[in-house]
């Protein structure tokens, strides 16, 4: 195994650890805005995992998934925040 693929697998493992820790915050977060923040970080982590998986397999088509995901993550957190603002009134 070359050093390069070792680096990629190590990065994949570290990002999975990030996902688990974000999940803990998502579970114990005392309020709803905490959960929205954790959701934002979820999306960023998954984009990173998709990027590293693209590099590991060498198939360039997977990067389109990351583009779509970055669009939809922004829409998701904005609509959650808007719903929260409306329901507070």
């Amino acid at each position: 195994m070359s050093i390069f693929s070792f680096t990629l697998i190590f990065a994949m493992a570290a990002l999975s650890l990030c996902l688990v820790m974000t999940g803990i915050r998502f579970a114990i977060g005392p309020t709803l805005p905490d959960r929205i923040t954790a959701f934002d970080l979820f999306v960023a982590n998954v984009i990173g995992i998709v990027a590293i998986y693209t590099e590991l397999t060498g198939n360039q088509d997977f990067i389109d998934v990351a583009i779509i995901l970055s669009l939809f993550g922004f829409l998701g957190s904005i609509s959650f925040a808007y719903y929260l603002m409306k329901s507070a009134r």
């Binding site: 990629l8 820790m21 904005i78």
Partner: protein, 133 residues
């Protein structure tokens, strides 16, 4: 002179360094999300760390593939993330203030009291109007 250099090896090394730096930023911001005591501190600390880490990982990937199409897509994702992440942070923060999420005990709120008072009393007036109708 240039024929002796293994360009694939150079690209792999540069890409590895970029990815390691990006993953370190992501890991640090996630630990910060777990450790910090207050919603606003978590918000202001983590969103930017994740954005910078993502930028490093993606540019490492663009350097490894070494093609114009890939570079265009990578620049698209980085530009979009840097545009939208502060907007999302701002909207969520303002929503949290309106929903009366408490600040940390040591927070210095001297210059913010007028705004908080106005905002929350406006809420109370609104609710009273609703109940009267």
């Amino acid at each position: 002179m240039f024929e002796d250099i293994n360009f694939l090896l150079i690209r792999e090394i540069i890409s590895s360094v970029f990815i390691i730096i990006g993953v370190m930023f992501m890991l640090i911001s996630t630990i910060g999300l777990l450790r910090f005591p207050d919603f606003y501190i978590r918000m202001s600390a983590i969103t930017k760390g994740a954005t910078l880490g993502l930028g490093f990982i993606l540019s490492g990937m663009g350097i490894y593939f070494n093609e114009p199409d890939m570079f265009l897509k990578v620049m698209l994702i980085i530009g979009f993330t840097f545009l939208t992440s502060p907007v999302a942070a701002h909207v969520i923060g303002r929503t949290a203030v309106r929903n009366k999420i408490p600040f940390w005990d040591h927070t210095n709120l001297d210059e913010f009291k007028d705004y908080l008072h106005k905002e929350h009393s406006a809420h109370r007036d609104h609710e009273r109007d609703n109940t009267q109708v």
